[in-house]
């Protein structure tokens, strides 16, 4: 019976993320990163993931949970979620440390070959976790976002643009799509007071 139950659990877990909030967060993160990078205050953009993370829980509780309902997944799944969150934090911390090491080693002046490709690197840094989110949640639209980010990274390298163009371009696409998913979710799941059985 385990296989059948696992399939049901996987489907339930996937539907848990079908509200569009995560998409909006990703889109807004990209827009904020783009704008702050453009304005030369990219450090401010770097703290936005923490803002997103702290906004996600209250928004989900207020907006999504009354409509989608409350569910507690298995202990195994909860462990996976915790491990995934830890992995994301470790990834971004590692990426920042790597950036710092590169900056210290080269003092901002990279070898010419690396310098050409480095503009696409920040987009790859967002594409990788987006891909992991797709695999973890089975919401494969995040794989499409990862592909879009990689494509944007490649484009700005080839065109010699700054990374903020890629961030903003992807943010402009992903944010409205997230709102579209959210509005669809809200129209399909009206908040009704629960009737105690």
């Amino acid at each position: 019976m385990n296989d059948a139950i696992n399939r049901v659990e996987k489907k339930a877990f996937r539907s848990y993320w079908d509200d569009g909030l995560l998409d909006i967060m990703l889109g807004l993160l990209l827009l904020v990163l783009g704008v702050t990078w453009w304005q030369g205050v990219a450090v401010l953009g770097a703290i936005f993931p923490a803002v997103c993370f702290s906004m996600w829980f209250p928004l989900r509780k207020r907006l999504v949970e009354p409509r989608m309902g409350y569910v507690e997944f298995s202990g195994k799944r909860n462990l996976q979620v915790r491990g995934f969150r830890f992995g994301l934090v470790a990834f971004f911390t590692g990426a920042m440390a790597l950036g710092l090491v590169i900056f210290i080693l080269f003092g901002g002046a990279l070898p010419s070959t690396a310098d050409e490709w480095i503009a696409g690197f920040p987009l790859v840094l967002i594409a990788i976790p987006a891909l992991f989110v797709a695999l973890f949640t089975s919401c494969f639209r995040f794989a499409a976002y990862a592909f879009l980010l990689l494509l944007a990274g490649l484009t700005i390298v080839l065109m010699g643009w700054d990374p903020h163009m890629g961030f903003m371009g992807c943010g402009i696409v992903i944010t409205p799509y997230g709102f579209l998913i959210l509005s669809r979710f809200l129209s399909r799941h009206p908040a009704e007071p629960e009737v105690l059985t």
Binding site: M1, A4, I5, N6, V8, E9, A12, S15, K61, R62, E65, P66, R67, M68, G69, Y70, V71, E72, F73, S74, G75, H189, E192, P193, E194, V195, L196, T197
Partner: protein
């Protein structure tokens, strides 16, 4: 299934699509509230309410009523006997299906 073997009995409580669907959903998670089950099973509120009461009366699910985020919430969880009933149901159904020629 051997010819002389008795036909396995199906649990009539589970042999109802709405209840079976609900139990399978509950078997996949630790706990779920009424609204979550509505969304996952596609049942109407009235139907789900009736089925959950029957399952709770049979001891297959537990009902925990509480207030969560200032809203009334009814949490359901599968009991050990509910899980066992689901396993038995599948085994018995498999035996019956195996007996169908073709």
């Amino acid at each position: 299934m051997k010819d002389n073997a008795p036909t396995p009995e199906l649990n009539r409580l589970l042999h109802e699509p709405a209840r079976l669907r609900t139990l399978v959903q509950l078997a996949a998670v630790n706990k779920a509230d009424f609204t979550w089950l509505l969304g996952q099973t596609g049942l109407s509120r009235g139907n789900l309410s009736v089925q959950m009461t029957k399952l709770a009366d049979a001891g297959m699910v537990t009902i925990d009523k509480r207030f969560h985020n200032n809203r009334p919430q009814t949490l359901f969880a599968l009991t050990a006997s509910g899980r066992q009933a689901l396993v038995d149901y599948k085994q018995n159904m498999q035996l019956i299906l195996d007996g169908i020629p073709g």
